[in-house]
């Protein structure tokens, strides 16, 4: 019921929804993202993990043109979006949730969701969508509260609501459970599973329990490049990954 008129191509392994080729981001002498070839299949849910400073967030920002990649390309459904502006990328149906909730703190919850709903819908329709989303994220009772006054977990919820309202086909989630209570993590897990029925997702996370609960395939970042790409089970067994996390030795 969230796909308002947008055609959804059949799920095929042949054509990835998102792909990067040789994506590199340098800050002066530091190579934050180093020649990354990444591919996400239609309908897939992928987790990105890696120690702090591995380049996960920078990689995200290059995807959405928050950072202009030093070299390499990003393809969305086969189109080169490397040079597109953030708002153009967003209009293609990519929803973004940032590490620190990026919401409109000075506006109330309803207005936050409405701003997202009104982009794709006419006025009356937008109001209806807002009601639905508020119900779905369980924040109807806080509709007229300023977002800036809410608890951290609730603000995370508002941001997720904003993203869902945009009816995206690909969602980038940067640490969606950070600062959430146990119960909120549980609810978010359920919600991400539900979202995955209609959209592809890339999730950056640290919470291993959470990743186990949602992910099939995990990509491990280290020092700006992809170390391993495998199932969660195999990743946890992988000695190289253990070393990176425990810092036993440098992995080039």
């Amino acid at each position: 019921m969230w796909r308002h008129g947008r055609k959804r191509p059949a799920m095929t392994e042949s054509r990835p929804i998102l792909e990067t080729r040789g994506l590199t981001m340098r800050f002066g002498g530091v190579v934050a993202v180093d020649n990354v070839d990444f591919s996400l299949a239609e309908g897939e849910l992928r987790c990105l993990i890696g120690p702090n400073g591995a380049g996960k967030t920078t990689f995200f920002r290059c995807l959405t043109h928050q950072y202009k990649a030093t070299s390499g390309q990003v393809f969305y459904r086969g189109d080169d979006i490397t040079g597109s502006h953030t708002h153009q990328i967003a209009r293609r149906g990519i929803g973004i949730k940032t590490q620190v909730p990026s919401v409109f703190d000075g506006l109330d919850v309803r207005e936050n969701i409405w701003l997202s709903a009104r982009r794709n819908h006419k006025d009356r329709e937008a109001n209806r969508v807002v009601d639905e989303i508020l119900e779905r994220i369980g924040l109807s009772h806080l509709a007229h509260k300023l977002v800036g006054q809410l608890a951290h977990g609730e603000r995370q919820g508002v941001e997720l609501g904003i993203v869902l309202t945009g009816d995206p086909e690909l969602i980038l989630l940067d640490e969606p459970t950070a600062g959430m209570t146990h119960e909120e993590v549980h609810r978010t897990t359920e919600m991400i599973r539900e979202i995955n029925r209609t959209a592809s997702l890339i999730v950056v996370e640290h919470d291993m329990q959470f990743i186990k609960a949602i992910a099939n395939k995990v990509t491990v970042f280290n020092q700006g490049s992809i170390l391993v790409e495998d199932t969660m089970e195999n990743v946890l067994k992988n000695q190289e990954v253990r070393d990176v996390y425990l810092g036993k030795r440098e992995v080039a």
């Binding site: 959405t64 928050q66 502006h85 953030t86 708002h87 153009q88 967003a90 209009r91 929803g95 973004i96 940032t98 990026s102 919401v103 409109f104 703190d105 000075g106 506006l107 109330d108 207005e111 409405w114 701003l115 997202s116 009104r118 982009r119 006025d123 007229h144 509260k145 300023l146 800036g148 006054q149 904003i162 945009g166």
Partner: protein, 356 residues
Amino acid sequence: MKIALDLKSWNTRGLIFVGVLMLALLFAGPQVFDLFVLLKVILFVSTAMLALSMAFIWGFGGILCFGQSAFFGIGAYAYAIGVINIGESTVPILLSVLVPAAFAMLLGYFMFYGRLSDIYLAVVTLAVTLIFYAFMRSTSGEEYRIGNARLMGFNGISSIPEFNWPGYPNSPLWPDDIFYVATTLLILVYFGLRILLRSHFGRVVVAIKENETRAEYLGYDVRFYKTIAFSIGAGIAGLAGCLFVSFNNFINPDVFALGLAAQIIMWVLIGGVGTLVGPMLGSLGLQMLYNWLGTQSFVSFLNTYLVFGAIIIIFVLAVPQGLQPTARLLALRFLPFTRPPEEADVAARAKAAGDD
């Protein structure tokens, strides 16, 4: 666009209150004030309009333009040059809005599409108004003329015809009529901005002020919205300049100088960033203070700008939100009859959203 007229809503009551006050001023003005005061009030109305333009782009658009005086001046000169050439005031009044709006669109295009950061935007806009100041002062020569209008450099253009009845160049408006026109325009601009701020466009502009990155993530082209908002603000400032000239019959390059540029910021800062009525009252208060200081003998010891500087420091330290939000919070706190059901919520919202 849906405009909720919920009489129980606190914002609607505030709007009605402001509307009644403004209409009272409109109809009572010429009956109550003598000619001298009436002319002063016309000046105040024009500066209130200028304050309104800054209140909009800064308080709601988050654009700290340090050179709003440039658009005021361009509007004033556009009217002056237009009316001297055409000999009739209707088209020049339109020019006074359109010329600064178009100029702001061009300037905004380079600033916003060039991703200029806020601090550079303030510097660039200040530089723009000072460039106009320097340039207009150097136009004394005979060769600086546009049609029949000589620019006259630092001496300024004098004997500028005031408004006339549309289509009747030979029947100028009396001060009473100019007062009616100016005040009506102020009311229209105020409520026009209120309607704009409730529209999709206005709500996006406010959202961009709140969080530019999130607005982009939603797919809004931030650069476009900012450029248009900036241009609307410039058009309003230009109209203020036009009213200023019509009352003064005179314009000189001092409108582009640092003094006015800084004062506009002060009006909004004192009145309350994020409100519309506050900055209008701020401009009124500071103008009256300025006039009063001019009549006092101790001013020879005490520079006017020193007093203004002290006021700024006091406000930034003691009343950082400005007059209107503070008055509103105090009213909600101490006047029981003003207290709506969800008082804490409304007070907090008033603080953040600054609706009046």
